[in-house]
Subunit: 406 residues, 2 copies
């Protein structure tokens, strides 16, 4: 075929480059948290890096059984076909009953990160302002880049986000589209948002017209203390509750859910539908069958998991106290996967310590990776993740850390 | 805790509403294609609606075996853990060898729609202009709403997109960020883009600096005619090739891939990472094992699938000719799942015919759902999808359609 003559006077250059969109150009290369170049070069390094569940707490055998049962019952063909964007009705029903909400409000996602990115895109205007934990989970900050949002750091205290601080900023005229916090067993700072603060935060959201993004992946893993409640979140039309099976059934499934206010269900569905249609029918089939056909199984599994993580948390704190007396101020958390100890001696250089620890063969996240603004002692802290480390690994890791202290 | 006095003079209203973002507000409610209210009310309705593979052509038994083999080999724990955003190395390697490209250029996705939405967000500015097939796959048009793009309709001929038409528009000064087309067994119009047009389209993209989004889910399902080639797409840094296992291993897996130009791999990875981290480790594990551990199995499976779909396509055309002689101009396609017959008699009202057909118990997509601009006979056509319909269903469907013609 004949094309327009490229040598004609008004023809553009012979080859015009293809340029990514402003959105894509605005996405940063990971630095600090998640930067693989910071990992220990030692092949025997012990990683206390991520909020990773232990394989022994995950349903390896049960998923195989689940597939067998579904296949034997003639469910294979449906498991490989398209399904709805909202997610499986039976799975949403099981979750909704547990959460105590209408099943319509449950939207199945590809895990917690997916729930966060959907929420940011559905509710934050481009260039909008979002209040975030200080310190905060760094991957949420990267998700904010999808809408080019600015952040307003809000200090996190032992009992969670400093809601009074946020209230003052709002009273001074600050306006936000959303506040992001991890209410239970905060990542990285291990505390839990108190019931009083939950109520106050929701009241602020309703008064000022922003959304509370409650990122709650660890909430089922409480092994001490008192549950501070979620009803206040579910009762508000200004809260999106982000949850996932990642920490309880396995990150590799990529299966989670949102509890949405009723008025946001349709907008979220339309957005999700345009991204990737729906979560895997195959995965939903196996997980729905696992949960629905084995009444009580999930709670039995959780009970064992909590006991495992309680043991590891206590062991890690005990080893730190025994091997590094007076060097790190550590408290056993009430749940979750993280310890957030503080360097007791101001003379210790946190970055130099991390470099020496890496050389000794222990990897952890430096506190400075989580800083979102001034006024925090995070740079003097370490995030130690113990979820997927055995007793021996935890002991050896602390021995190596002690050598790094010198 | 004490909050700021809400009765203070500058306090906002007692309850401020939560408003979805402009992006979310810009997403339309499905009309026409995908509108459930248009479906036949008859419980025994036969649906010739979607590009759906037949269960008998999908690896139901093999996936169960694959899980058993992986689990027996001790791979269960890894299958439930996090994995990289790029996708499994072994799976990418298998795909890359088949495509004849460097494995780095393969990005694993949650299926074809996911690949399309990633591409649109990574390469089209907000409000940008995208040339699209006329007629076009309606769900791609909905994906364009993610960036509020405008469309430039380009006619589709028997041998695919009218590239000369596009060249003229570009020469006249029209500028676009992308062109979207389905090169093999076009959805809905069943044709295949000729080799000469592929080369000309890529040349235009390189000259004018836009991307060719080659959406190719049906390409493995050729059962007649001659392959028009993909090398020209893979050799250009102005083409994103979107593919998926949806039509060959099952939509329910939600597993696909992009073949990206090398310079776009990092931007796409950063975008994908922020959406939902990575595709299911569990699904990737089973599919990678299935493909890698059974050399030749995929091609054997495809050969049987092609034979099945060829048979159904031929049967459907034969039934139309036998039961509706002279009423519908139909041609057996060379592959894929769609027949795009045209009403021969101008006196037949296409919308009224569809209503009568629905009442008779046959569902199909009206041609008008696919129209993106003037100058097409699409409104006089029917999209009949035969992939998942048995011989008996196809015969009965045509009987019902014949009754609708009256």
């Amino acid at each position: 075929m004949t094309l327009t003559d490229p040598t004609a006077p008004d023809a553009p250059a012979a080859t015009a480059p293809l340029v990514p969109s402003a959105l894509a150009r605005g996405l940063t290369v990971p630095k600090g948290f998640g930067d693989q170049s910071l990992l220990s070069p030692r092949p025997d390094a012990i990683r206390l890096l991520g909020g990773i569940p232990d394989p022994s707490a995950l349903p390896l055998a049960e998923l195989r059984e689940s597939l067998g049962e579904v296949w034997d019952a003639g469910g294979a063909a449906a498991a490989l076909q398209y399904s709805g964007s909202h997610g499986f009705e039976g799975l949403r029903g099981w979750i909704a009953e547990r959460e105590g909400v209408n099943p319509r409000r449950i939207l199945i996602t590809n895990g917690g990160m997916h729930g966060l990115s959907l929420t940011v895109q559905a509710l934050v205007e481009r260039g909008g302002r979002v209040a975030v934990d200080n310190p905060a989970y760094p991957l949420f900050l990267r998700t904010l880049e999808l809408v080019g949002a600015e952040t307003l750091p809000v200090p996190v205290e032992a009992d969670g986000l400093d809601v009074e601080h946020l209230a003052r900023r709002l009273a001074e005229g600050e306006r936000i589209a959303a506040v992001y916090t991890v209410p239970d067993f905060h990542n990285p700072s291990q505390g839990t948002l108190s019931a009083a603060k939950r109520a106050a935060l929701v009241e602020l959201a309703e008064r000022y017209g922003f959304v509370v993004i409650a990122d709650d992946p660890y909430r089922e893993l409480r092994f001490a203390g008192t549950d501070q409640g979620r009803r206040v979140f579910f009762d508000s039309d200004h809260v999106v509750h982000v949850n996932t099976f990642t920490k309880t059934l396995g990150p590799g499934l990529r299966l989670g859910w949102l509890v949405l206010p009723d008025h946001l269900v349709d907008p979220f569905l339309r957005l999700r539908n345009r991204q990737d249609s729906h979560s895997s029918t195959f995965v939903q089939t196996l997980v729905e069958h696992l949960l629905v056909s084995r009444p009580g199984w999930f709670d039995t599994t959780l009970a064992a998991a909590r006991e495992l993580y309680r043991h590891r948390a206590e062991l890690l704190v005990a080893e730190l106290e025994a091997q590094l007396p007076g060097q790190l101020e550590a408290t056993v958390p009430e749940g979750g996967f993280f310890l957030w100890p503080c360097l007791a001696d101001d003379a210790v250089d946190a970055a130099a310590l991390h470099a020496r620890a890496s050389a000794e063969g222990i990897d952890y996240q430096q506190g400075e990776f989580f800083v979102t603004g001034p006024g925090t002692d995070s740079a003097r802290r370490l995030r130690l993740a113990y979820g997927d480390r055995t007793d021996d690994e935890l002991r050896t890791a602390v021995e190596r850390l002690a050598r790094a202290f010198g």
